[in-house]
Symmetry: C3
Subunit: 362 residues, 3 copies
């Protein structure tokens, strides 16, 4: 009844270019710090069950077939052909791809051609800063190059994202750090770091967030542990009215709090996706919770998928089914009208993302 013919995945990564064995595949289903516990497997998770539900039919197998059989069929088809079938079967029409993760992953261009879709790049701020540091000899040149580099990236990127240090850096203070503070932190970091070393200094991370805010491109911030009100509320207040949108990624289990913030601040948006991929058969229940407090113009679908095209499929299929079930249920009860439900489905699936990221209609 409720259709989402067009689907913008507003936050995902590329897929691996190499053939995968059972163990490597399984590792991508876990979220953890380490292997599965002895006697357990990451296939025994909502994500594992959802992959086994949605993906085998796209490769010509029965839903819920055993993992080993699925992996054998995947190898038989080859990584390219199975990736092609999976991505094209996902229903996603536009991918926004965070290119900041290591590994042999496809970029936006390859995602577009493999998936027969549009694709755009999301630039990860930490990685950009580390690349600038690798080629800047002094604090002065680093700071000048950094600002220039962010502004150059803004011309091509559809958004910026920051992951590692959001919670740590914003918990200290929401305002931009002063020039002296930034120079001091920068000097200490450059003196200590090896080429390729990761940026973790909270002052520099905060400086970086504020450069990105100045660029006007939407800024995606990965929610840290705990209630985002605690560390994100101050930043939202400090950036209100500046014209740059903030998108909170990955809020679960604080997705209701994230939705609340999207209702309070005009420039704050909430992401829907990974909560759905990770919760599988519970996707409709989690989606319904997010739909409590957030204005319907402030929610954005994403898969959050990384490495396996199966995760793009699962994200998209769970979302479509969950949205249809939740909104359809409200229409059946008389709580919503059908035209309203169809309009909201279109907004959350694609329309809001098109407006926020300035994408043309698919």
């Amino acid at each position: 009844m409720i259709e989402t013919p067009s689907l913008v995945d507003q936050y995902c990564h590329g897929v691996l270019r190499t053939e995968l064995g059972l163990g490597t595949f399984e590792a991508h289903l876990g979220r953890g710090e380490g292997p599965p516990a002895p006697g357990t497997t990451f296939f025994d998770t909502q994500t594992g069950f959802a992959v086994r539900r949605w993906c085998p039919p796209l490769l010509g197998l029965e839903p819920h077939c055993p993992p080993a059989r699925y992996l054998a069929r995947r190898r038989e088809l080859g990584v390219l052909e199975s990736g092609r079938r999976l991505l094209r079967g996902s229903g996603i029409t536009t991918y926004l791809v965070d290119t900041g993760l290591p590994g042999d992953l496809t970029g936006p261009g390859e995602m577009a051609s493999t998936g027969d879709a549009d694709a755009h790049e999301i630039v990860r701020l930490e990685l950009l800063a580390e690349q600038v540091a690798d080629t800047s000899g002094t604090v002065d040149s680093f700071l000048a190059n950094l600002a220039e580099s962010v502004h150059a990236a803004a011309a091509n990127a559809v958004a910026f994202t920051s992951v590692a240090g959001v919670r740590r850096s914003l918990a200290l203070a929401p305002e931009p750090p002063g020039p002296g503070e930034v120079r001091g932190a920068e000097g200490r970091w450059l003196a200590r770091r090896q080429v390729g070393g990761a940026l973790q200094d909270p002052v520099l991370l905060r400086h970086l967030l504020w450069i990105a805010v100045a660029s006007g491109r939407p800024l995606q911030l990965q929610a840290g542990a705990g209630d985002p009100q605690g560390y994100f509320g101050g930043f939202a207040r400090a950036t209100a009215g500046l014209g740059t949108d903030l998108v909170l990624l990955h809020g679960y289990p604080y997705h209701r709090n994230a939705a609340d913030l999207a209702g309070v601040f005009p420039h704050v948006y909430a992401d829907l996706g990974p909560a759905l991929v990770r919760t599988g058969a519970r996707a409709a229940a989690v989606l319904a919770e997010i739909l409590e407090l957030a204005p319907f113009g402030k929610l954005l679908f994403s898969s959050g998928a990384h490495g396996l095209p199966e995760l793009h499929v699962v994200g998209a299929r769970l979302f479509g089914e969950a949205l249809g079930r939740v909104l359809g249920g409200w229409v059946t009860e008389g709580a919503w009208s059908l035209p309203d439900a169809q309009r909201v489905a279109g907004l959350v699936a694609a329309g809001n993302a098109r407006r926020v990221y300035g994408l043309s209609d698919g």
Copy 2:
């Protein structure tokens, strides 16, 4: 199956006396710091959809009709007649009205006559203290007048409420501040403030809460951001056994935590209302969560409505429907007996509020 013939709205505000245009009406549907985001509207929220579901029929229109049509009909009837139809159609038989908000709002007397109901006043402590400060020249006279004023208000008011500083003031310490501490804070506040200036000093707010506790009237405390266990638990422990009831308002999304506290402390009660008005089609789901840990004698319905009689309607209708659906479902499953469900519905809708606030049977 489950009926709630009598409904005590244990926390609400009056309604605006002026005609409203589309923009002003819409602004009352938002919860935010600012206007709706560009390209969005506060009508696209659960509250907006719930207003369009429940209110048009009370003014002779189809449910879910477009906002502009609804507003035109509202103006056609006039603010008095539409308010009369809405409030009388809400099913609320008693209003407890917090009169502490600014604006051209109806008081308890007008709510009673317009809504053909009973109404009582809830006195907002901050406002009382500001009025006392406006007319007290010295610290000594302020402190004496404040205590007298709270006790005088207790004779007529059905409850006290405190909103602005609950979290900030109780987070520091739950106990009453010492006399020297109060005098110091008071002196600084009086010296700095202009006539009409708001009370925000955490020491004075805490002093005020403890004066209210001494009055014996139920004290309604607006939940702040975050888990109430953190800032409210200590105050609940410090006030246990003193004979004054505490009512936690507006707990969402920490409503389960608020219900938990109502189960742990004999004198703590939890409010149901605004979670329902704000979550609309999800009201039954949120209500069911509140009904997990709270003893059924510790929950109180409210609408939390402010400004628009539509919000009183939505609060009451969502509550009645949600309660019927949740309790009725448990009866159907065999988890509850029908007489138990009917008895609990009566408690939560009206009986608990009558007992806690000492109201006569409607």
Copy 3:
């Protein structure tokens, strides 16, 4: 459709050996700091309603009969016979019994014979330390005896548990305290305490947890107030890879956060039980939330029951019914296959506990 023929209750207490009047029985239904509020009763809670649903039939009465009638029948049968009928009607086949609570409670042996089941002891660390302190004259002898005593207990106990100080002691630091720090804290505690005095010093509690970790037996930790990520995450990280499993007890309303931690750390497990006993008709909804992020091999059933065999019954019956309803629903929707659902039901009901605690197949 989904059966759980075997049920391991991985955390409970014994039952009272004395006849109970209405008031004493009611007191065991509350969770609070004090009696029920005036005009209310702890029978008007989800736990009270669940007891009235599940237990009267086991004593030959109608479900939902009035409390007084149930208590009269219970006295008529006698505490032994009613306990026998209740425990044997619960469906629990193995009890893991925390023997660390005061009161005239049955131990594991009596639970086994009364319930026609297996039973094993869980040793409460605080109590063990207090017993050692009662018989140790000096700091040196206490510290030596403590380590010896924990290791001796590990030979017979199926697990250790710590309740009182988990949050307070781990919030300070996750690592084991240094020897000087322990000696200092120990000296202060021994000097102050009376025979039988409770252990509350956070340094000693932390020392005790680390001795237990070294024993290799699973360690059950009672969740404190608030998000366990805050105080438990660091301890989970510090104990990763040491070969000792940690089981988080009683996470509600932070059960999703507990499930999340069980997904992140290979050696962390999450408990299901008391959330179900306390939430009654909502047990299926709460269980479904726990099943979102936790790998299915990391969840363990328990009743958390204490004092009343009715609570063992309610825990087991609610769990079985909730699990059947949740997993059965997913099978009906096509989200899970039936064999997968049956396998997961067996893991959560008994298989995971057998593996973690090294129990033989029932």
